[in-house]
Amino acid sequence: MSDQIIEFLQQLINGLSQGAIYALIALGYTMVFGILRFINFAHGDVYMLGAFAGFYTAPRLLQLFGGGPSFPGATAVLLVAMLACATIGIIIERLCYRPLRDQPRLTVLITAIGVSLFLENGGQYVFGADPKSFPEIITDRALEIPESWGALSALTITVGQVIVVGVTLFLLFALRTVVLHTRLGMAMRALSFNPLAASLMGVNTNIVISFTFGLGSALAGAAGILTSIQQPSIEPLMGVNAGLKAFVAAVLGGIGNIPGAALGGLLIGLLEAFVVGYVSPTYRDAIVFGVLILILLVKPSGLLGKTEREKV
């Protein structure tokens, strides 16, 4: 097999693991948009808080499971970070977005920008602006690929990449089950379909919206931990760029559409990996946003989204 194909497969693997992270964050954007029709700008910063929740709790949690990096320890860190982010997400919604529910969407959007700035600057104050080294919760090493695989053994696949993709797939299926097969999930779908009719049918709007924020934020928290396994350098502004990219992913897949967000995340991750691998790393951001503009011009409803007509 030629080197080009190996190179291509390598970029594919790198893109896949980055795309999984974007997919997890994009889900939070898309679920909130589906229900409340606004962009939760602070979502990227919740992802950052997830990484920091792991940073502060990991040493203790790992102690409980024998000290060193271990699978149960890493699972505990992941769950704690998800729980912490879910709580933060619910609090943000309760304090900042709920009082503005009847206000124009622009007001809520500006508030979200304010919350985002608050979390970034507050993070810089509380955690310090310098990058922190995330503790090793699982040993990230390259997998041994047997010689019998021939030319494929030249590929580098790390434990971290396998875990990221595996955990993301698991979370996606868990989310699918929650949305499709639980009463709360049904209420979420009802609310995104028609909020007024849903509330008339006895759906408790406030609880469902809180639940949605909690769910989305938990996924962002998981993304924060999964990123930190691969790139163990975390800082309070890490959520800005990741959040914007994940948002592009959500729009690409069709905002408000859950499978679309997952698909968009993967595509953006792959696109980035190929731009870095074949074009130039400095063009990465510009090309991702170029894709966003192209999508909005050609098909604003996204790849999987439905077109909505604005009614007078």
Binding site: P104, L109, V115, F118, N121, Y283, I293, L296
Partner: protein, 324 residues
């Protein structure tokens, strides 16, 4: 009406000249703040035309500023001495470069205005943000513009006169535009786009026009900034710079030029004042702590403002006697 505003413009230009002459010996620190105020007024008032008067939420104003800053810098660096080294010649080239930078930004504004025809609200905010990132990305890869190293070596032509003269012109153009019969189209697009269209208003034209004019002045502001700091860097025109300008417009009240000018002044002075406050030894420790972390305070203020007075400090208050 028109005559009065023209007299006002001439008077304020004269005042700029006098102030520039009279404040010649002011300390560099205050001079710096004054220039910052002027540039922020231009940025905020021009963004207000797009965000406040036309109701198109743009999050990419720093991108237009970058176009103007880089275009004018490149022009003065390349052609600055084409008319000789005498001050008159270089100043003429400087003003020409500022205007050319503005035109460059206006062309970029036209390019952003076209997608805005199809998008509204949140989507438009994201597209303009994307444009901001793309402009930054192009500059980061453009060798003649210094790429990631930034561009420096411009002569410091910007002074109080030019800054405030352009600020006065910006206010004059925006106010005259929105208070003219022609300009009520902007307000109609903001208030109800569908109704405006049904009444035969060419909403497309007004949206593109707002973007183009807003971008022109942002470009001029970028040129002024570049020829004051004598150094520009792509990271200086990022998303957060755009948010800064948006906050000025929101705090002042969307669609209130007076309020926006006030907010631009306030938000330029406030960080400096808080910096000074954090050094007062007689203040209690916790107050100094708060002042030191002014960005946290800033974001909290934004949230509280939205929760309590979403129309901004001066939103909905018009200071002109004649209703537009």
């Amino acid at each position: 009406m028109l005559e009065r505003t023209k007299i006002l413009l001439l008077a304020s230009l004269l005042l700029c000249g006098l102030a520039s002459w009279g404040l010649g010996g002011i300390s560099p620190y205050y001079y710096d703040i004054l220039i910052g105020i002027g540039i922020n007024i231009i940025l905020a008032v021009s963004l207000n035309l797009v965000n406040g008067y036309t109701g198109q939420f743009s999050l990419g104003h720093a991108g237009f500023m970058a176009v103007g800053a880089y275009a004018s810098s490149w022009l003065t660096l390349t052609f600055g001495y084409i008319l000789g080294t005498h001050a008159t010649g270089t100043t003429f080239m400087y003003v020409a470069a500022l205007l050319a930078g503005g035109i460059g930004a206006a062309v970029a504004g036209l390019a952003v205005g076209i997608p805005s025809l199809r998008l509204r609200g949140d989507y438009l905010a994201i597209v303009t943000l994307g444009f901001n990132e793309i402009i930054k990305g192009i500059i980061q890869n453009a060798e003649p513009l210094g790429a990631q190293r930034g561009l420096g070596g411009m002569v410091q032509h910007t002074n109080l006169f030019w800054t405030f003269a352009f600020a006065a012109i910006t206010i004059y153009v925006v106010l005259n535009l929105v208070h003219s019969t022609y300009g009520s189209g902007f307000l109609a697009v903001r208030d109800d786009e569908i109704a405006a269209e049904a009444m035969g208003i060419n909403t497309t034209k007004y949206k593109v026009l707002a973007f183009t004019i807003g971008a022109f002045f942002a470009g001029v502001a970028g040129g002024l900034y570049a020829h004051y700091k004598q150094f520009v860097h792509p990271e200086g025109f990022n998303f957060l710079r755009s948010v800064d300008i948006v906050v000025m417009v929101i705090l002042g009240g969307m669609g209130s030029t007076f309020g926006v000018v006030f907010a631009a002044i306030l938000l330029t002075i406030l960080p400096e004042w808080l910096r000074a406050v954090s050094d007062y030894p007689w203040l209690p420790e916790w107050l100094r702590e708060i002042a030191e972390n002014r960005m946290i305070l800033y974001s909290l203020l934004l949230i509280i403002l939205m929760l309590t007075r979403p129309q901004g400090l001066f939103g909905g208050i018009s200071f002109s006697k004649k209703r537009a």
